[in-house]
Amino acid sequence: MNAISAQPKTVETPALELTSVCRTYGEPPNEVRALVDASLSVARGEFVAVMGPSGSGKSTLLTIAGGLEVPSTGTVRVDGQDLGGMEAAGLADVRLRRVGYVFQDFNLLPALSAVENVAMVLELAGRGRRDATQAAIEQLGAVGLANRLDHFPDDLSGGEQQRVAIARALVGGGRLLLADEPTGALDSVTGESVMRTLRSACDAGTSAVVVTHDAQLAAWADRVVFLRDGRMVDHTEPTVPPMTGLSPS
């Protein structure tokens, strides 16, 4: 099967651009090739899902896209900025200001309220507390949690906690959202509310990459990319096909 590069039709600087990325662990002859010649371009406001079986390289792709891991070869650009050759401090700054992560288990700080969890990201990036808090309030409102601002994680449902995590990933605007199985810990209806939140964020201009093995989750994306043995083997077209044959009659 030939490798396929999944590129959307766009002339804008992509929010994320991976070009011929390889990631190898270990040394020959026992090396493991987690990603092989992977290329992916995510346009602004585009929602891309990455599907594949366990061990196909999905999570490696996400950690490389977010600057948590360095590729063995190939280039990674976030908002046009090449992460290759960056010092640790530069990468940390990209992770703080340009990228937002959402994990399966939410990863909220239990001692902080919802608004404090979200505002903390901006405070770490140097924004004043009042300014950060105001931005956090607005972002929590945008994910439908205006009435949960002062609740602590333990007092929130799983779906609400994940929406706080999404607000934290998006606060301040302009950040690429990277999510690893974001609905994996949620029941189907709650998971759908989280996906609706992600979909709305992308419709409002956020770019997102979600890795998942869940087809119902992937179906919310603009484009689905398939990984197999570290290679991108296939992708859907970035448009929704017309609804035909819905009725069996």
Partner: protein, 177 residues
């Protein structure tokens, strides 16, 4: 309720997935009236102009029908399953591309349905029908994932049946019990 009304109610409550032939509705109403499950004044008037009302016996029958599980059926003839099984039997390694092609098309159909769910006009019946179809498509994708895993594990689907294998007709018989 009139026959035409009944047709509209059925369609709106089931997401308009199964349009009814109004003639079939009148035929069914005739049978229900014969069996005492509905009644209608003026039996000599044309069925199209007569209102029907459910009887107490009809209500009991309706409650039973709603709660009763659908009768078991033999596994349906499924083109996807047939194509993939034939592909695997011809060339297990080459079947990977066919499995992926099927998976992509199923996901594309799921995206279309999800797009329908995301529209503000989607009411509860439409959401429920889309959910039903999405779960059905997801089940097919999970089956394809399992085919993929079994082919990767080198399990031959051409081997002679062992003592633990069950013939399809046995499955159907078991389900009919």
């Amino acid at each position: 309720m009139y026959g035409q009304q009944l047709k509209s109610e059925f369609e709106s409550r089931t997401g308009s997935f199964w349009p009814l032939n109004v003639g079939q509705v009148y035929t069914s109403l005739d049978r229900l009236e014969r069996d005492g499950f509905v009644e209608s004044p003026g039996a000599d008037v044309d069925a199209k102009t007569r209102p029907y009302v459910i009887t107490a016996a009809g209500q009991v029958e309706l409650d039973f029908w709603l709660k009763d599980a659908a009768p078991p059926k033999a596994p349906p003839r499924d083109d996807l399953v047939m194509k993939v099984m034939i592909a695997v039997s011809i060339d297990p390694e080459g079947s990977v591309e066919i499995v992926q092609s099927q998976r992509r098309q199923l996901i594309e159909r799921m995206r279309t349905l999800t797009h329908v769910k995301a529209t503000p006009a989607a009411d509860t019946p439409l959401l429920l029908m889309c959910d039903a179809e999405l779960f059905r498509l997801e089940a097919s994708i999970r089956w394809l994932d399992t085919v993929d895993a079994r082919v990767r594990a080198g399990v031959s689907l051409l081997g002679a049946p062992d003592e633990t294998s069950v013939a399809p007709e046995e499955i159907a018989v078991e389900e009919q019990r």
